[in-house]
Amino acid sequence: MNKDRFSIIGQPLPKIDAWAKVVGETKFADDLVMSRMAHGKLLRSPHAHALIKRIDTTRARALPGVYAVITGHDLPRVKFGILPVSQDEEALCVEKVRMVGDAVAAVAAVDEETAERATELIEVEYEPLRSLMSIEDSLAHPEVRIHEYGDRPNVHKAVSLQFGDVEAAFAAADLVREDVFYFEGNTHLPMEQHSALAQWGADGKLTLWSSTQTPHYVHRLLSRILDVPPAHIRVVAAPVGGGFGGKLDPFAHEIAACRLSQLTGRPVKFTLTREEVFYVHRGRHPVLMWIKTGFKNDGAITGMHFRSWLDGGAYGSYGVASTFYTGALQTVTYKIPVYKFEGARVFTNKPPCGPKRGHGTPQPRFAMECQIDKAAEQLGLDPADMRRRNLAEPFVKTANHLTVTTIGLGECIDRVVEASGWREKRGHLPPGKGIGIACSSYLTGAGTAIYWNDMPHSGVVVRADRSGLVAVLCGATDIGQGSDSILAYLVAEVLGIEPKDIRVHPADTDLTPVDLGSYSSRVTLMAGNAAIQAAERLREKIFAAVAQKLEAQADQLAVGERRVFVRDDPERGVSFPEAVVLAESMWGVLAFPGSYAPPRRAGKYKGGGVGPSPCYSYSACVVEVDVDRQTGLVTATEVWIAHDVGRALNPLLVEGQVEGSIYMGLGEALMEEQVFRKGVHKIPSLLEYKSPTTLETPEIHTILVESDDPEGPFGAKEAGQGPLLPVIPAVANAVYDAVGVRIDETPITPEKVTKAMDSKRQGKPARVGPERLPVFRFPEARVVESAFGHPAEDIAVRPFASAPHPLPRGERVRGGGAS
């Protein structure tokens, strides 16, 4: 279907919340003030690993201005965690702390200064334990247990999956490469520090406003943690000042705010300091990787064996999913007929890692795309051509049973190769300058919820009434990516009105249908499809009423330009508000639900639930760098990226997501690292944690490729995470082109570059990267047949779908358009 047939979709419209944001009206959580509000502060552990022998809050309670002081003893003794399989956290630790920054007590006071002074008056006696600060440390000291659970001492999870016979594949290869890579941990660093305001009313009901990406999961878990029926808890998502995955877990400050509000009878607000944000973390896992791949002389991959060791930090968080993700998506970009994955997540006494933009996939993508670059050189192939020739095929399954739908990667590669001048530049740039390419793919929404259920992943209610107002109610959270705007565009398109005619309300568990949250790039697709379904149901009722009035057939009607009219006789029609009056007169209250759950495609093996997605986005990226050969400083000067977004519902917003992804990728590639020394975060500040500025920003050329995916709303796939993935290996490959050294670990710091150049001059391997792997036996792999090349199942089979699918591709029924 042609883009011209849309009226709203495809237009570079402002976001619906842009106006409030540019005038400073948007109320973020910390901007909220209530009368009698108390201010909260957490006391955090200064020890990386210690037993708590005694906590005495007497002096803190006695401080004037202090309303209440709580410890873990004042909360129900229940451990929680975002994943059902990792219930290992306490809001306030009772017996043991497992990292610097673990909360042990909380204060509510008249103001923040008093609350902070009170925390300093709390006496905690600790018995320090040996702290384990690295994967090697934790594996070497099984006698020191960070947690009592896990697959082995200090091993949270060890997995092993095999799809087909990889050894045979290697035997059939012309070239087999084994490479080792390390990806340093880094953090989300949203500009807004987490904040939450709780009010436990006199009616015994709790309301929490929080800068959370997932009000639903917070709602669910608060009920368990506080032992209060969920029906008595309301979670309202405040606008989120940057998330990137960092506001996806329930946090101690949220829980403490609730309990302190209950105890004091006052609203209680907590806002974290920047340093605390570094400790709550849940960011990118440091991952050590070993990758063995067989190649044919033409670059075709015969098979791949991938191993990852994740430094998980002190708690489970999303870590089991992260572990599987380090092995899940290797197979969706290129043809990999057989595949084996082994992964282990290790506990350490550091802030827990979790989902940061790209969740578990940037690390293996870095390893894989750098290895392909090395293989291409060995095989005498152009790295772009080698990738282009071995693309995965659309509408088939991968070795690990993932169903892939549309793939725009070929066009992506062609477009960046063309735009960047790849063929003229590669190998021909002046000394110190280089160019590199890499590709990637990412989920458009996780195919399974984090807790098993048969309910929708996204729900939307579209409501209209005689005023002509259309309200969209959805539990999804706009974290800056523009998801509220997307819902408005989709509903406007279906109803033939303008986004301005629609109000999208913030997620509120009392009012909005459940949406699982803003993670895994799921909102546009899942909430979007639900919104379309809801709007179509409303439109159907409107058409019926208008048809009666116009004495026409409902199926002859169309919408557009705020009117409902006869398609072949556009003069015959009524205004949209009039149409709503007709419909409300005929049907009563107009409120229609839309529900979305992804097609059930989880592989029939343990771990098969991580990786499936309704569809996958694709990206190809070329980066040009300038390497100072004396200092080793790397500057990314220009970036070309082509991203297969299925359809750009709003190209401006998609570009914004792509550009932001590139930015974040460059930071990870060149300077960002979450590192520890003496048990504490080495650099928990915006000064020393190096986040790139305008001056590190290259010129970015964004090319959007539209593959019109049958799973996506009007064909759309994700854009918010995938484009980060290829940036990091593209930088590494460009550095190699520039100065002939391989930096096989992130970030690519000037020290590493100069060190590798020294080695090169001395005739040693021109490489800096990990030299050894842990001694570790993975569990015996359960061998499953490779599903490589099997045809995709009927793509239409998904719960709650309203129309019989599949319709012929490109010929689906659309809502809007004046024609």
Partner: protein
Amino acid sequence: MKTRLTLRINGEERDVLAPAHKTLLEVLREELNLTGTKHGCELGECGTCTVLVDGLPVLSCLALPVECQGREIRTVEGMAQGGRLHPLQQAFAELGAAQCGYCTPGILLTAEALLEDIPTPTRDEIKHALAGNLCRCTGYTKILDAVELAALRRQGEAQPR
């Protein structure tokens, strides 16, 4: 001990009673409820809390109100005049230069000072002027585009749509 201060904010005289050690950031947000000014570190390391004092971008987290008396303080709430958005606000909204919007007020004010100083800055000049404002969402590209567009419009070379 609280000090009585008279501050001129967005063209209005405001009387404030606050202890001397309360920063301009705290007074704006907590005493005057001007929460458009945000904060990201309170240590001068991010630029989020930027306001204009006598037309120059400064960090409200490191400024004392007592030192701002008699000077013109401008916050994001004072950018739109008579219900009409500043060209920078208009351009930021239209071009998607505000994603989460948290760094936006500080960037808008910094950019406003730039355009007062250099009405048609080069991209490089914009980058240097905004080098003290961190943004984690946008990759800055749309921000740079929006400043360029606003500069053009201020010069009357383009009209708002």
